[in-house]
C-alpha cells in the first residue's frame, strides 16, 4: 500500500469559493485544500452546501473564486439520483464507468468486462453481476455505484452521501474499499450525515454551514463546540464521538 508522496501538490484546492442559485447564496467564501491520498469527509446540516461543494468540484455549477482538482474525477451520486427501474444488471452499471475512456462509438471490450467483474468481486458482489440493478438491496446498489466510480480509474473520487440509507454491512464494505483506495494514493471526498462514521474513518473533515465552519485533520476538527456550531437545531445528541442528526436527500447535480 502506498500513500501519495510527501510534498506532492494537494489533490483539491478551493480559494474563496462561492456558489449561488438564482442569486441565493448556497456556499460563500470557502477556502480549503485536501492533500492527495486523503479520505476527506464533508459534514454539515441540511442546506449547508455539501452537495453544492461537490458540484463545484465537478465543474457542473458556475461559481466564483477558484477550484482546482489535480487529476481526473469519478463520482458517486446519491442513490435517489439513479433510475433504479432502468433495465440494466450490476455488471452493466459498472461498465458505465468505462465509458469516458472508451469514447464515442466504441463498446466495452473484454478487458473492460474483466475490470468490472473484478471490481464487483472487490465489493463482494461477484454472485450478483448478472442480477438486475432494480433487484438489489439499497446497500448492494450503493456498492455497485462505488464499483462504477472505481472503474473510471480517476485520481479523485467524489461521493454524495454514500452511507445514507444502506445497511451496516454495506457501509463497512464501502468504507473499507474507500480506505484501500486512499492507501493506493487516490483521494476521496465524501459528504455524509453520519458523524460517527466520519470521525472514525476520515483523515480530514470539512464542516460547512453555507460557509466553512472548520477544516483540518479529524482529531482537530471533530470537537463538540465545532459540531454544535454547525448543526445547531439539527443535532439530536452529541456524546463523545457519537452524534445523530436529521438528514434528508438533496437534488443531484
Amino acid at each position: 500500500m502506498k500513500r501519495a508522496a510527501a510534498g506532492s501538490p494537494p489533490a483539491i484546492v478551493a480559494l474563496d469559493l462561492s456558489v449561488a442559485y438564482e442569486g441565493r447564496p448556497a456556499l460563500t467564501g470557502v477556502t480549503f485544500s485536501v492533500p492527495a491520498g486523503t479520505l476527506a469527509g464533508v459534514l454539515g446540516p441540511n442546506g449547508a452546501g455539501k452537495t453544492t461543494l461537490l458540484r463545484a468540484l465537478l465543474g457542473v455549477v458556475s461559481h466564483t473564486g477558484s477550484v482546482e482538482v489535480n487529476g481526473s474525477t469519478s463520482y458517486v451520486p446519491q442513490l435517489s439520483a439513479v433510475d433504479r427501474t432502468f433495465p440494466v444488471d450490476a455488471l452493466g452499471v459498472v461498465l458505465m464507468g468505462r465509458y469516458p475512456r472508451l469514447g464515442w462509438l466504441r463498446a466495452p471490450r473484454a478487458n473492460d468486462r474483466r475490470v468490472a467483474a473484478e471490481l464487483l468481486d472487490q465489493m463482494g458482489l461477484s454472485d450478483r453481476a448478472r442480477s438486475p440493478f432494480a433487484s438489489l438491496s439499497g446497500g448492494q446498489r450503493q456498492r455497485v455505484l462505488v464499483a462504477r466510480a472505481l472503474a473510471q480509474e480517476g485520481e479523485v473520487m467524489l461521493l454524495d452521501e454514500p452511507l445514507t440509507g444502506i445497511d451496516a454491512a454495506s457501509q463497512e464494505v464501502v468504507l473499507r474499499v474507500l480506505a484501500d483506495h486512499c492507501a493506493d494514493g487516490h483521494t476521496v471526498c465524501m459528504t455524509t450525515h453520519d458523524l460517527a462514521q466520519a470521525a472514525r474513518v476520515c483523515d480530514r473533515l470539512l464542516i460547512l454551514d453555507g460557509r466553512l465552519v472548520a477544516e483540518g485533520p479529524t482529531r482537530e476538527v471533530f470537537r463538540p463546540e465545532i459540531i454544535r456550531a454547525a448543526y445547531r437545531a439539527e443535532l439530536l445528541s452529541l456524546d463523545g464521538e457519537t452524534a445523530l442528526v436529521h438528514h434528508g436527500v438533496h437534488p443531484a447535480p
Binding site: 458505465m96 462509438l105 462504477r148
Partner: protein, 272 residues
C-alpha cells in the same frame, strides 16, 4: 403493397428502437406531442405545394428546439412546455386544414396514416432516417442510455446532457415524421410506446430490449398490413391493433413467468 411493407417495417423498427429511450426517459408525452404538432407542418406544406414530409420535419424541429429551450430555462418542466406547444400548434394545424378545401378530404390520411399510398420518395426518406438513427445509436447509444439511467453522473463524466437530450428528441422527431405516413398522428404513440413496453416485460437488459422492440415494431407493421389485406380495415389502425395484441400476449407471458418463479420459490421453501 411491397412499398407499404418496407415502409411499415422501417417505421415500426425505428419507433420500436427509439421508443425504448422514450420509455426509460419518461418522454411518452413528448412522443404524443410531436405527432400532433407536426400536423401544422403537414398543413403548411400542403398549402405551399411542398412535400408533406418536409413540412412535418420542419415543425418537428421547431417543436424539439422549443421544448428544449423552455425546459432548459429551468422555470418550466419539459412536460409543461409540451402542454403549451401541443394544443397551440395542433390547433393551428387543424384550423389550416379546415380552411383548405382541397385538403379536408385527406385529413383522415394525416390522422390515421396512408401507408398504401407511399411513394419512392417516402421510402427514401424512411431509409435515410433509419440510417441516421442507426448511426446516431452506434455513435452515442451508450451515452444516451447513461443519461437515462443516471443523469448526474453523465454530467459529472463531462458529457453534455443537453446536447444528448437534443439528439434524442431530434431522432424521435425524425421517426415521427416517418411513422406519420405509416400510422398517422393519432396512432403514432402506439408504435412509439407499445413495442418498447412489450419488450420491457420480456427483457432485463436495455440493448436486448431495444433489439426486441425494433423487431416487434417491424413485426407489428407486417402483421397490420396483412390484416389490412385480408380483412379490409385501415392500415394504421390495423398496425396499432397488432401492437396492442402483442403487448397483451407479452404481458400474459410475463405473468406466467412470475407465477412460475413464485411456484418454484414456494416448492424450494418446502413444507413448513
Amino acid at each position: 403493397m411491397r412499398r407499404a411493407l418496407v415502409e411499415a417495417v422501417l417505421a415500426g423498427a425505428l419507433c420500436g428502437a427509439l421508443g425504448c429511450f422514450v420509455l426509460v426517459r419518461g418522454l411518452a408525452f413528448f412522443g404524443e406531442s410531436i405527432s400532433h404538432t407536426i400536423v401544422l407542418g403537414v398543413a403548411l406544406a400542403f398549402l405551399a405545394g411542398l412535400p408533406v414530409s418536409l413540412g412535418a420535419a420542419a415543425l418537428a424541429a421547431v417543436t424539439v428546439l422549443a421544448v428544449q429551450a423552455i425546459g432548459a430555462g429551468g422555470r418550466l418542466s419539459r412536460d409543461t412546455a409540451i402542454g403549451i406547444l401541443l394544443p397551440s400548434l395542433f390547433g393551428a394545424g387543424v384550423a389550416l386544414i379546415a380552411l383548405s378545401e382541397g385538403y379536408r378530404s385527406r385529413l383522415e390520411d394525416v390522422l390515421f396514416g396512408s401507408i398504401l399510398g407511399v411513394t419512392d420518395a417516402d421510402l427514401i426518406l424512411a431509409a435515410a432516417v433509419a440510417a441516421a438513427v442507426a448511426g446516431a445509436l452506434l455513435l452515442a447509444g451508450k451515452e444516451l442510455a447513461l443519461v437515462a439511467f443516471d443523469r448526474s453522473t453523465a454530467r459529472a463524466m463531462g458529457y453534455s446532457v443537453r446536447l444528448l437530450d437534443l439528439l434524442l428528441l431530434g431522432l424521435v422527431a425524425l421517426a415521427a415524421v416517418v411513422a406519420l405516413r405509416a400510422v398517422g398522428n393519432l396512432l403514432l404513440t402506439a408504435l412509439l410506446v407499445g413495442p418498447p413496453v412489450t419488450a420491457r416485460m420480456l427483457c432485463r437488459r436495455f440493448w436486448p430490449m431495444v433489439a426486441l422492440a425494433a423487431a416487434l415494431g417491424a413485426g407489428a407493421g407486417i402483421a397490420g398490413l396483412y390484416a389490412t389485406w385480408y380483412f379490409d380495415v385501415g392500415a394504421g389502425p390495423a398496425i396499432a391493433l397488432a401492437v396492442g395484441c402483442v403487448a397483451v400476449a407479452a404481458s400474459l407471458v410475463a405473468q406466467g413467468r412470475r407465477w412460475e418463479r413464485r411456484r418454484a420459490a414456494t416448492a424450494g421453501a418446502g413444507p413448513q
